[in-house]
């Protein structure tokens, strides 16, 4: 148990985190959360746990309810029903008629717009939570200086907050959320307003900070890369419901629904019918009654012969070979190159199979050009089959 983090001024008395860990429990618990706007459920029956010092990502397209969920956690929205526990306090419960105001929840939050107060200096922005809590001035100064140092803004304390770049604003927002060492920090798409290079750097820094300061984070994002890189667990959401809740690796490698697969960058979908069901979730899918593809069944309901199914395949998980290649292993599709675009790290091809288009990321060594006849070799483990109407 790593309690000698900086600024930790409590003595050996076990805090909520210790108790949680001892019980093997979670720091944040969300149970059957529902938020209605009129007749529309923005968040519907959402439940998840966040163990101490882990990062949970709420991932999904815009309008999926991820931000509303986060705002319910912060107390900025009053849910319609459900229960939220932070630490050992129930902060919202429709059953027990509990609603704790945001200022009483002891959480940190980084907003999408950063919400830097333009009429204050950087130091006053960062020290605000402490001064509201009536911490004495010298301690505020000290802790603000420490945290600014930590986020790499050591020099900027006296600067007016309206004169900051986007990246600096982001760091100030982060420092302000962390300055009172909350156990839970909420992030509402904090990296979406930064340019690509800065985003990657901040992502790495965030990870380092989290390891140093030990806090539980709940992270809202629509960027799958961000969610994969930062989190211990991903809550993938769609129209207010949880679509999949799993580790990043599992979500990425075995999306449980066609929607998950698409959202995680499976850019190809092949439609067909189940020809035969094998053991261990193997299926053979017949495409237009012409070719058969061996696939792994990832769908919820077990497949039956004749079911309409969709197979999701990533563009970088197939092999592109000349049409005349002889060794006949596994399933494949034939077609010709329609478009070849050089993208630096790889070459992106669109292959026309006659009845549909297929995206392939090819490596630099074997180059094909427009019109070439090719075959796309598919491995069973990389073909994920679902019922066709499941999206």
């Amino acid at each position: 148990m790593n309690m000698q983090t900086q600024n930790q001024k409590t003595k050996a008395e076990p805090g909520p985190v210790d108790r949680m860990k001892a019980q093997g429990g979670s720091l944040v618990q969300v149970r059957n959360l529902r938020k209605m706007y009129g007749d529309v459920a923005a968040v519907d029956n959402v439940s998840f746990d966040a163990p101490p010092n882990e990062t949970i990502s709420l991932l999904g397209p815009s309008g999926c309810g991820k931000t509303t969920t986060l705002r319910c956690l912060a107390g900025l929205e009053v849910p319609t029903s459900g229960e939220i526990t932070i630490g050992d306090t129930i902060v919202y419960s429709s059953e027990k008629n509990i609603m704790v105001e945001p200022e009483k929840r002891n959480i940190g939050m980084v907003f999408q717009s950063y919400a830097i107060w333009p009429h204050m200096t950087v130091a006053n922005n960062v020290g605000f939570p402490l001064s509201i809590a009536k911490v004495n001035k010298s301690e505020i100064r000290e802790r603000v200086r420490d945290i600014l140092e930590l986020v790499g803004l050591g020099e900027l304390g006296a600067r007016s907050a309206s004169a900051l770049s986007g990246g600096q604003q982001q760091r100030v927002a982060l420092a302000r959320a962390l300055v009172y060492t909350p156990k839970v920090v909420l992030f509402d798409e904090p990296l979406s307003n930064l340019d690509a290079n800065l985003r990657e750097r901040m992502r790495a820094e965030l990870k380092v900070l989290q390891e140093r300061l030990n806090f539980t984070s709940i992270f809202v994002t629509h960027d799958q890369q961000e969610a994969l890189a930062l989190s211990n667990k991903i809550v993938l959401m769609k129209s207010g419901l949880i679509e999949q809740l799993d580790s990043p690796e599992n979500v990425f490698k075995a999306p449980s629904t066609l929607f998950s697969a698409h959202f995680l960058g499976y850019s190809n979908t092949i439609h067909g019918e189940v020809a035969s069901v094998g053991t261990n979730s193997d299926v053979t899918v017949s495409i237009d009654n012409e070719s058969d593809i061996e696939a792994t069944w990832n769908g919820q309901e077990p497949p039956k012969n004749g079911d309409r199914v969709s197979i999701a395949v990533r563009a970088d998980r197939v092999r592109l070979r000349p049409a005349l290649a002889s060794d006949d292993a596994g399933s494949f599709l034939s077609g010709h190159i329609e478009v070849a675009s050089f993208l630096g790290t790889h070459i992106s091809y669109i292959v026309n199979t006659g009845s549909f288009s297929f995206n392939v990321d090819g490596d630099q060594d074997a180059r094909f050009s427009r019109g070439d006849e090719v075959r796309i070799e598919l491995s069973r483990a990389d073909c994920h089959a679902y019922h066709a109407d499941s999206e």
Partner: protein, 563 residues
């Protein structure tokens, strides 16, 4: 912070109740009901009840067909429509010159064209009397030897039209300029590339795109001049042309007071202006969002060639017609007696000494107006800020009704609201106090204040105060530490605007004043009846300087800091 999660549990609804008590909403509605709705209601009620005998329409028919009413209606219509035409043509041209062309000196013109907006048109009317009163006017004296009579009699419809036109041009100018500056310049560039000339582009692309702004400004000018009181009183003259507003005043202030006539005419005027204002609001709503999508870059300026000096001349003439008479007034104020031309041996400052230190009415007007304006602007700004916060930073039930209710005075001409307040006040100890005037002013200009302050609050991201909440601040603390400081610059400029409006207010004051509570404008009107021109002129100059100081301090304000 090493405090652990405190066991502070509140119920789901106490969080809302604590800050957003329904009590607050009830108080707000009570205030608005009492100050905005009730006086109007009383006025309308009075119009429809004859001698307290229940609802009757005979009186209404009788009043509406009086010959002087029909005359006043005709005069009002002609005056207002002509004023709208002058203000629109001038305002649109000036805005186009400043925003789109290479007119010389346009930076200076841009600053000066808004000047009449801050000045009092009553003083403007007085200044024009000095220029064009039939016998002693400067202009008429100049032309008398040539044409053997006055070239322009300011005591006429033409006179009213000139003053209204000149002083309401800035309204159209401001609206049009805003629309031109927020317009995507590539729309006009595209027309040029497709072969349209400068004038064709202006008429077929620019003008139609600004049409909603221009039209709603025109309607605003119409409503304002139909409800205006000071100018027709001064220029219509005692026995001369009466507009609806001066006729209302004549009915109510005659002895015995004809409240039936006054309220019936007021109702008629109210229905008329309310209809037009609703039309204007409808027009504004349609283009609300198109003005905000302004591009940051400046459009390429149109080269007018040698016509740029025509534009320069036109703008100079406009400013000359506004500022010139004020200069003449200033000259008159430092002459011991005005003999139609400036005499160096007649220079004196005794009129200024008189109005500031001696004349009782003038001194009362000055102190009363300053008191009302200081107190009124402060109350209005604080009240409007509270309303804006309630509307946009709480989830109280019924908060959007506040907006509709607060905008009601927009449809009510000052003289109409004044009558309502007079009828209400007569039965209370408030009658004849400055307090009733403060309340009437604040109520009448609630829309102006609320719209200004609302736009500041709306422009601030909700995340700014939500973040403060998450950081541990209560709702009150978040408002106090975040929203209020960020609104201060906008509140100051709104305060100055309201101060200016209150300093020169005429229509409600003329209904509500008694001996002892004269405002500056009332004092000025009374002085013109009985004192030499020099004294009125000096008093006007004092008021004008006060207003100019306000106009310049608005320019000096830092642009408000917004997120």
């Amino acid at each position: 912070m090493s405090t652990s999660y405190a066991e502070k549990r509140t119920s789901v609804f106490s969080g809302i109740k604590r800050y957003n008590g329904v009590g607050v909403i009830i108080i707000v509605y009570a205030i608005l009901g009492l100050t905005v709705v009730y006086p109007l209601f009383v006025m309308l009620l009075r119009a429809f009840t004859e001698n307290d005998q229940g609802i009757g329409f005979d009186k209404i028919v009788e009043v509406m067909f009086r010959p002087e009413v029909l005359d006043a209606f005709k005069i009002t219509m002609i005056t207002c429509i002509s004023a709208v035409v002058i203000a629109t043509v001038t305002g649109v041209s000036l805005a186009w010159f400043v925003a789109r062309t290479n007119m010389p000196g346009k930076r200076l013109f841009d600053a000066l064209n808004m000047l009449p907006f801050y000045l009092s048109n009553v003083v403007g009317a007085l200044a024009w009397q000095a220029i064009a009163s039939p016998r002693t006017g400067l202009l008429n004296k100049l032309f008398e030897p040539l044409i053997g009579g006055p070239i322009l009699d300011i005591y006429s419809m033409e006179g009213m039209i000139i003053v209204f036109g000149l002083f309401y041009t800035p309204y159209v100018y401001l609206f049009t300029l805003g629309s031109l500056q927020s317009m995507d310049p590539s729309l006009e560039d595209a027309a040029r590339i497709n072969g349209a000339g400068v004038l064709q582009t202006a008429i077929r692309i620019t003008l139609p795109l600004s049409a909603p702004a221009i039209l709603s400004a025109s309607i605003l000018v119409f409503v304002t001049s139909a409800g205006a009181f000071g100018v027709p009183l001064l220029l219509g003259g005692p026995g001369g042309d009466k507009t609806l507003s001066t006729l209302i005043f004549t009915y109510v202030s005659s002895y015995p007071a004809d409240f039936a006539g006054g309220t019936i005419l007021s109702t008629f005027l109210f229905i008329f202006t309310a209809g037009l204002t609703l039309l204007q609001i409808k027009l504004l709503m349609g283009r609300k969002f198109t003005t905000i999508t302004g591009k940051g870059y400046r459009p390429k300026l149109i080269d007018l060639g040698r016509y740029k000096w025509v534009a320069f001349g036109f703008n100079s003439l406009y400013l000359f017609l506004v500022i010139g008479p004020f200069c003449v007034l200033a000259l008159i104020s430092i002459q011991d007696a005005w003999v139609g031309s400036f005499q160096f041996d007649r220079i004196t400052f005794e009129h200024f000494y008189e109005v500031v230190f001696v004349d009782e009415v003038a001194r009362r007007g000055l102190t009363n107006s300053l008191t009302i304006a200081l107190v009124g602007a402060t109350i209005a700004v604080l009240f409007c800020f509270s309303l804006a916060v309630i509307i946009h930073r709480t989830n109280l039930p019924g908060r959007f009704g506040i907006v509709a209710l607060s905008m009601l005075p927009l449809t009510v001409p000052g003289i109409v609201l004044g009558i309502g307040y007079l009828i209400v006040a007569l039965k209370t100890p408030l009658y004849g106090t400055l307090a009733i005037m403060v309340i009437a002013y604040v109520a009448h200009f609630l829309p102006t204040g609320l719209r200004n302050i609302e736009s500041i609050v709306i422009s601030m991201s909700k995340e700014l105060d939500e973040c403060a909440r998450v950081c541990g601040a209560s709702w009150w603390k978040a408002m106090q530490k975040i929203i209020l400081p960020l609104c201060i610059p906008g509140m100051i400029s709104t305060w100055i605007l309201l101060f200016v409006i209150f300093i020169r207010e005429v229509s409600s004051s003329i209904m509500l004043y008694v001996h002892g509570t004269e405002t500056m404008s009332v004092a000025l009107i009374r002085m013109m009846e009985s004192r030499p021109l020099g004294v009125s002129a000096a008093f006007s100059i004092v008021q004008t300087v006060l207003l100019l100081v306000c106009a310049f301090s608005v320019r000096l304000l830092p642009t408000s800091r917004r997120d």
